[in-house]
């Protein structure tokens, strides 16, 4: 998606070889107008597939999921990273390793908000090693819901997550796929647009 690639080129900063900072528009400060364009693109790519629930994980996916939920005309749910004292006892639960934060999170979704009647589009801001996405797919599976597919803002195509998930037959649509960031120069996969 050219709009997102242009944004990454102009505002993205490569750090320490393989960290891409896009916090001026994606995951600390948020450009809601860009999110709207991205949501419309996901709607185009997943149109007619009966999506009736968006699932993401806190925190960076929430803004994208919320705006996409308006486009799809359905509710969005975000998986939570830990169990607060007013959280349901009745939850689906999985474990997700965050390499950025260097720890393993328990991730939960209330059973009230995910069930066999749901046709789920999973959305997230980044895909690298694929741990977060596979954790969310596990929650969809536990709920007996149908996974329609996964939409990602930025995929690091030089890490293994995307290939592994596509190999399972999952419809995975990344709006920008980075194949290389060496020397700080960001190169996109041409068919990733």
């Amino acid at each position: 998606m050219k709009l997102l690639e242009d944004k990454i080129r102009t505002e993205g900063v490569v750090k320490n070889g393989d960290i891409l900072k896009v916090d001026s528009f994606l995951n600390h400060q948020m450009d809601a107008g860009l999110f709207r364009a991205m949501a419309r693109e996901w709607k185009r790519r997943f149109d007619g597939l009966g999506v009736n629930k968006i699932l993401t994980i806190e925190a960076s996916g929430i803004g994208l999921a919320c705006i996409a939920a308006e486009e799809f005309g359905c509710r969005a749910v975000f998986a939570k990273k830990s169990s607060g004292s007013n959280m349901d006892a009745e939850v689906y639960s999985t474990k997700i390793t965050s390499f950025t934060k260097g720890k393993v999170f328990d991730v939960i979704v209330s059973k009230r908000f995910l069930g066999p009647e749901d046709r789920v589009l999973i959305l997230d801001d980044f895909l690298a090693n694929g741990c977060a996405l596979e954790g969310l797919m596990d929650l969809v599976n536990q709920a007996g819901a149908t996974l329609v597919g996964c939409g990602i803002a930025i995929e690091k195509g030089f890490q293994e997550g995307g290939a592994r998930i596509r190999k399972k037959g999952v419809k995975l649509e990344s709006l920008a796929v980075i194949v290389s960031m060496s020397g700080g120069e960001i190169v996109f996969r041409e068919d990733g647009t």
Copy 2:
């Protein structure tokens, strides 16, 4: 705001006397259509005041902030609860006590996304004791930005936060103010609409 009050009446659940669960539409599952109506109401109440930045805190405020940012035509920023390895060293920082989670969080915003040129509307899902809001106000103050006001979805009017913050002269607009939940019956403040 009648739409929100009706939603709280029909989907809200009172637990253990003073916990209100609204996770079917506000802070676990999210009703983006309702968020849009709420954002328009905040726009009406803060119209003409030059808001050019929305500030919230992860995670529950993010969806609201993102949709409100579209209404105000500005960017949204969410304060983060802990410092990941790819977070800026250059941040404003404050401490917020969460009674729900029973701990104190370090909360940060990158200095790149909040500064003297910003006229800030702080948004959050809940206001009870006011700790989160005062933490966010502290960040605005550290940045030398102008606080235009605060918009809250649900204020627990029987806790002290709202009164204390209004006493400081802050324009605080809560879309639903609950004055009592005793016996599980939710009563709203009439002038809170």
